[in-house]
C-alpha cells in the first residue's frame, strides 16, 4: 500500500545514525547489564563491589643500601677466594669501606671492583671506599619500584584472588586493588603477603664470640663485623652472625611447601648454580660451624654443618600453619622486595556496603530519570518523548563506551551519570525553545526546525567545548574517583551531541510532513498559545 506523499516518512541519514548509535549502545551494554561472562563489560569500582584499595610507597633508599651490602658480600667472597686479606669490611653511610693489608693485592682487587656496576672507587693509601654514582642510585631506586610492582603482582597472582590490579601511580607509588577481598581475615592475609620482605639470607655464625652474644651490644658486635639477630621461634634467644651474608634470596630458584619427619609444614628451597657453588665452598670449609638461615632479619634455624653440602638446597622450618607456609613459599618464589613498602592510603569497603551504595545510586538514577521524563513530556508533549528517547540512548552509549574502554564505574561515576541526565535534556530544552520561537514567528516547520537547530547549536557547542575542557583538566589532575567522574561525564557530553542534536533532528525530519499536516503544535511541541 502506498501512503499519500504528505504523510509518508522518509528515512534520513540522521535517523539512520541515531538507530546505529542506539544499536551500538544497547548491544554493548548488554554484557554489563546482565553481568554475563562474555564480552567486555563495565567493571564496578571497589566502592561499589567491595574490596581493598591500597596505595603503597617504596622506601627506595633501602634498596640502595641492600645493593651496597651485596657489593660487600661480593668483595668478601672474592677476597677469600683469592687469599687477599682485608680488614674492617663494612657498609658505612653510602659506601662500602675496607682496608687492604697487602698493597700488592691492589691491582687484582681493582679488576674485581671494575666489574661492579655503577661504582665509584676511592682509594687513599690502603683504605678503600666503594660507593655508587648518582645515576646508579637513581637507577637502583627506579628498579626497586619496578621490582616491587613485579613482585607484588607475582605474589597476588599466585595467591589466587580474582582480578588483582597492581599498577604504578606517579613516579614511585604503587596502586593495588583487590576486589576479591571479602573478610577482614582475607584482607590481613593479603596485606601481609604484599608487604612481606621475604628476604632470605644464609649467614655464618660467629663461633669465636658466640658464647658472649648476650653480653654484646649492637655497636660492639658491629665492631667485629657481626650482627645480633633474634630467633624467630624463641624470642629470648639471640644469635651472633657475620654481618655480611654468604648468600641471599636472589640466588633462590624455587621454594615449595614440604613436610618434615614430624609432619609439620616446612619450606624447601633450592639455589641456582652460582649460589650452589658458593654454598658448597662455604660449607666445605666450615664443617663443625653453624649456618644461620635468616628470613626477614630473624633466625629460623642454625644447624651445625656436618659436611660439605653440594646440590644447593635447604629447608626453613618454623611453627607454620599450612596456609602460612604456603604464603611464605609464594613470597620466596616471587622474590624478595628490594626495598620495604609502606602504606600511604588504604580504602577497604565491605561487600554489603558496596551493595547498599549500588542500591542507593540506582534509586537516585531511576527516580531522577523518571522525574525528568515526566516533566519533559508534560512540558513539550511529543517533543519531550523524543528528547527522553535521546537521553535513554545516550545512557546506553555511555555504558557501552565504558565497557569497551574497560573503564571502571565508581560511586562518583554513578553520580556523574545521574547528573548527566539532568544536563543531557538541556540540549533538547534549548533546541525545543528555539524551535517554538521560530514557529511563533510564523516560519514553516521545515524552516523553523532548521533555524532552531542551527541557533541552538551555537550555544550548545560553546558550552560543551568549555565542559569538555573542564573534564580534561579534571581527568589530568584528579585521582581515581574523580577520574571516573570526568570519564562518564565527558562521554555523556560527546554522546549527547549525537543523540540530542543530530538524532532528534532526524526524528523531527521523519515526521515533518505529518506535523505540518496536523498543525497540532500542542501535541508535538507542547505549545499552548496560538500560532500566527
Amino acid at each position: 500500500m502506498r501512503l499519500p506523499e504528505s504523510t509518508r516518512m522518509k528515512l534520513n541519514f540522521r535517523v539512520v545514525l541515531l538507530i546505529a548509535a542506539a544499536l551500538f549502545g544497547i548491544i554493548f551494554s548488554i554484557p554489563s547489564l546482565t553481568q554475563s561472562q562474555h564480552g567486555a563489560k563495565v567493571t564496578l569500582g571497589l566502592d561499589l563491589q567491595g574490596g581493598l584499595h591500597l596505595l603503597l610507597g617504596v622506601k627506595t633508599e633501602e634498596a640502595v643500601n641492600s645493593q651496597l651490602k651485596s657489593v660487600a658480600s661480593g668483595i668478601k667472597h672474592f677476597t677469600e677466594q683469592n687469599d687477599i686479606l682485608v680488614d674492617g669490611l663494612s657498609v658505612q653511610g653510602d659506601g662500602v669501606v675496607f682496608s687492604l693489608l697487602d698493597a700488592e693485592d691492589g691491582t687484582k682487587l681493582g679488576e674485581h671492583l671494575k666489574n661492579v656496576q655503577g661504582a665509584v672507587v676511592k682509594v687513599s693509601g690502603e683504605s678503600y671506599r666503594v660507593s655508587f654514582k648518582p645515576e646508579e642510585v637513581e637507577k637502583l631506586k627506579a628498579q626497586a619500584v619496578d621490582q616491587a610492582i613485579e613482585t607484588i603482582r607475582n605474589r597476588l597472582d599466585q595467591f589466587g584472588l580474582a582480578e588483582p590490579v597492581v599498577a604504578r601511580q606517579g613516579v614511585d607509588k604503587i596502586l593495588v586493588e583487590l576486589p576479591g577481598i571479602k573478610t577482614p581475615q582475607e584482607e590481613q592475609r593479603a596485606r601481609e603477603l604484599i608487604s612481606r620482605a621475604a628476604k632470605l639470607e644464609l649467614m655464618a655464625v660467629d663461633e669465636d664470640r658466640s658464647m658472649r652474644v648476650n653480653d654484646l651490644s649492637d655497636v660492639e658486635a658491629a665492631s667485629y663485623g657481626d650482627k645480633i639477630l633474634e630467633d624467630a621461634l624463641q624470642p629470648n634467644m639471640k644469635h651472633l652472625v657475620n654481618e655480611i651474608p654468604i648468600l641471599d634470596g636472589t640466588v633462590l630458584t624455587d621454594a615449595q611447601v614440604g613436610y618434615d619427619q614430624n609432619n609439620r609444614p616446612v619450606i624447601n628451597f633450592s639455589l641456582n648454580s652460582a649460589g650452589a657453588q658458593i654454598f658448597g665452598d662455604f660449607t666445605g670449609k666450615s664443617v663443625g660451624k653453624r649456618l644461620a638461615i635468616v628470613l626477614d632479619g630473624k633466625v629460623y634455624s642454625a644447624p651445625v654443618i656436618n659436611e660439605r653440602i653440594g646440590g644447593g638446597s635447604g629447608q626453613i622450618s618454623g611453627n607454620y600453619s599450612v596456609s602460612e607456609a604456603n604464603d611464605l613459599a609464594i613470597a620466596l618464589r616471587s622474590g624478595a622486595l628490594l626495598a620495604p613498602i609502606y602504606m600511604l592510603e588504604k580504602r577497604s569497603v565491605g561487600p554489603s556496603l558496596g551493595a547498599d551504595s549500588i542500591k542507593a545510586s540506582l534509586l537516585a538514577l531511576v527516580s531522577g530519570f523518571v522525574l525528568v521524563m515526566i516533566f519533559m513530556i508534560m512540558y513539550y508533549g511529543l517533543a519531550g518523548i523524543i528528547a527522553n528517547l535521546a537521553v535513554m540512548i545516550n545512557i546506553f552509549i555511555i555504558l557501552a563506551m565504558m565497557a569497551l574502554l574497560g573503564a571502571t564505574l565508581t560511586l562518583p561515576g554513578m553520580a556523574g551519570i545521574v547528573l548527566h541526565i539532568g544536563l543531557a535534556v538541556d540540549a533538547n530544552i534549548i533546541i525545543n525553545e528555539r524551535v517554538r520561537e521560530q514557529i511563533r514567528l510564523g516560519l514553516g516547520l521545515k524552516k523553523a526546525l532548521q533555524e532552531g537547530y542551527s541557533k541552538a547549536m551555537r550555544a550548545i557547542l560553546d558550552s560543551n567545548i568549555t565542559q569538555i575542557i573542564a573534564c580534561t583538566i579534571l581527568y589530568v589532575y584528579g585521582t581515581g574517583a574523580i577520574k571516573g567522574f570526568a570519564v562518564t561525564l565527558s562521554m555523556g557530553i560527546l554522546a549527547s551531541m549525537l543523540t540530542a542534536i543530530v538524532g532528534t533532528y532526524g526524528i523531527f525530519q521523519l515526521f515533518t510532513n505529518r506535523i505540518e499536516k496536523s498543525k497540532n503544535y500542542k501535541l508535538w511541541f507542547g505549545m499552548t498559545r496560538k500560532v500566527n
Binding site: 556496603l353 513539550y380 539532568g422
Partner: protein, 323 residues
C-alpha cells in the same frame, strides 16, 4: 505547557541594585563563614582514618567512645551516627603506615566487646597524600578558570569573560559558605561538585551570553540594557526548565544517595540554585557594569568583517596573479 510569555521583556536589570546587594551580602557572609568557621575537611585532605561500623541493633556510641579513648591512635577521635542508628563512623587524624597490622585491625580489637558489629569501611589516608591532593585540587580549579576565561574571551569578549569568572566565583563561594555553615564534610567528591558547579554555572552563563551576542548582531537597538533584558527574558524559560530538571536529579541524589554522597550532593544542590540565580541576575548585570558598549562592539565586528573581506580580495588577486 508554557511558563513564560514569549514576547514579554522582563526588566531584570532594573532591579539590579537589589540583587547586587543580596549577592554582595551573601558573598561576604559566606567568606566570613569560611574564614572563621572553615570547613570540616575530610581525610582526603587532612590525612587520617575513617572507620564505618554497623552494629546489629542500635550502636552503643558511648561505649565505643569510652573504648576508643584509651588508645593513642584515637585520642581525639570523633564518633557519630551515620545514616541510621545502627551505623556509626569513627574519625581520627591518626593513620598507620605498616601493612601487617593497620588501624582497621586496631579498631576491630578495641571494639571487641561493644556488641555484634561489622566493619564496613576503612578509609585511611597518610598525611603526604593529603598535601598532594590539596595542591592538585587547587591547580585543577585555577587551570579550569583560566581555560574558561580564554574560551569566553575567544568566543565573546574579555568583558564577558571577566563577568563570567566573577559570577562563577560568586556561585562557588556562596555554595561553600553553605557547606561550611552546615558542617558538611569537605572531601574529594566535594571538589568534583565544585568543578561541576563551575561547569554548570559557565554553561548557564554562556546560554545567556549567546543570546546577548545574537541580539547585538541582529537587533537595531543600541541600548545594551535593553538588549540584555531581552536576551535574559528570551532564555528565561530554558534556564528555568533546565535548572528544574537538574534540580530534580540532584535532589534525588541528595535524598537517596545516602550520607556517603553528602559531600557531593549537598554542594550540588545549593550550587544549582545559586548558579541559576546568578546566570539570570548577576552575570549579565556584570557585563553591563564593565562598561560594554554595543556601538564599539559592532564597529569592531564590522572592522573584522572588512579585514576578512580585504584579505580574501587580496588572496583572490594574488591567485589570479595580479599582484
Amino acid at each position: 505547557m508554557e511558563l513564560f510569555k514569549e514576547d514579554k521583556v522582563y526588566n531584570f536589570l532594573g532591579k539590579g541594585k537589589i540583587f547586587f546587594v543580596a549577592s554582595f551580602v551573601l558573598f561576604f557572609v559566606a567568606i566570613a563563614l569560611i574564614a572563621t568557621k572553615g570547613f570540616s575537611f575530610g581525610i582526603d585532605f587532612t590525612g587520617g582514618t575513617v572507620v564505618q561500623v554497623k552494629y546489629q541493633g542500635v550502636a552503643p556510641i558511648d561505649k565505643v567512645r569510652e573504648a576508643l579513648e584509651k588508645n593513642e591512635l584515637f585520642k581525639h577521635a570523633a564518633v557519630s551516627e551515620f545514616g541510621s542508628p545502627e551505623e556509626i563512623v569513627i574519625k581520627t587524624a591518626a593513620s598507620t603506615d605498616g601493612l601487617s597490622k593497620d588501624i582497621g585491625d586496631v579498631t576491630r580489637e578495641i571494639l571487641k566487646g561493644t556488641g555484634d558489629f561489622e566493619i564496613r569501611r576503612v578509609d585511611m589516608v597518610g598525611p603526604k597524600v593529603g598535601d598532594e591532593l590539596r595542591v592538585k585540587g587547587l591547580t585543577a580549579f585555577l587551570l579550569t578558570l583560566s581555560a574558561i576565561m580564554a574560551m569566553v574571551t575567544f568566543r565573546y569578549e574579555w568583558r564577558f569573560a571577566l563577568a563570567a569568572i566573577i559570577a562563577i566565583v560568586h556561585d562557588i563561594v556562596i555554595t561553600f559558605g553553605f557547606v561550611s555553615y552546615f558542617e558538611i564534610d569537605f572531601n574529594i567528591e566535594s571538589v568534583a561538585a565544585l568543578l561541576m558547579i563551575l561547569g554548570y554555572s559557565i554553561h548557564d552563563t554562556i546560554i545567556v551570553y549567546d543570546r546577548i551576542r545574537e541580539h547585538i548582531q541582529e537587533s537595531k537597538n543600541s541600548d545594551f540594557v535593553m538588549i540584555v533584558n531581552e536576551a535574559v527574558s528570551r532564555t528565561q524559560s530554558r534556564t528555568t526548565l533546565t535548572s528544574l530538571t537538574v534540580f530534580f536529579v540532584v535532589l534525588t541524589l541528595f535524598l537517596f544517595g545516602g550520607d556517603i554522597m553528602l559531600g557531593f550532593s549537598f554542594p550540588m544542590l545549593v550550587g544549582v540554585i545559586i548558579g541559576t540565580y546568578s546566570s539570570i541576575f548577576v552575570a549579565a548585570q556584570l557585563v553591563v557594569w564593565t562598561g560594554f558598549s554595543v556601538g564599539r562592539y559592532r564597529e569592531k565586528m564590522a572592522e573584522k568583517i572588512k579585514l576578512q573581506a580585504e584579505k580574501e580580495k587580496m588572496r583572490a588577486q594574488f591567485e589570479q596573479g595580479i599582484v
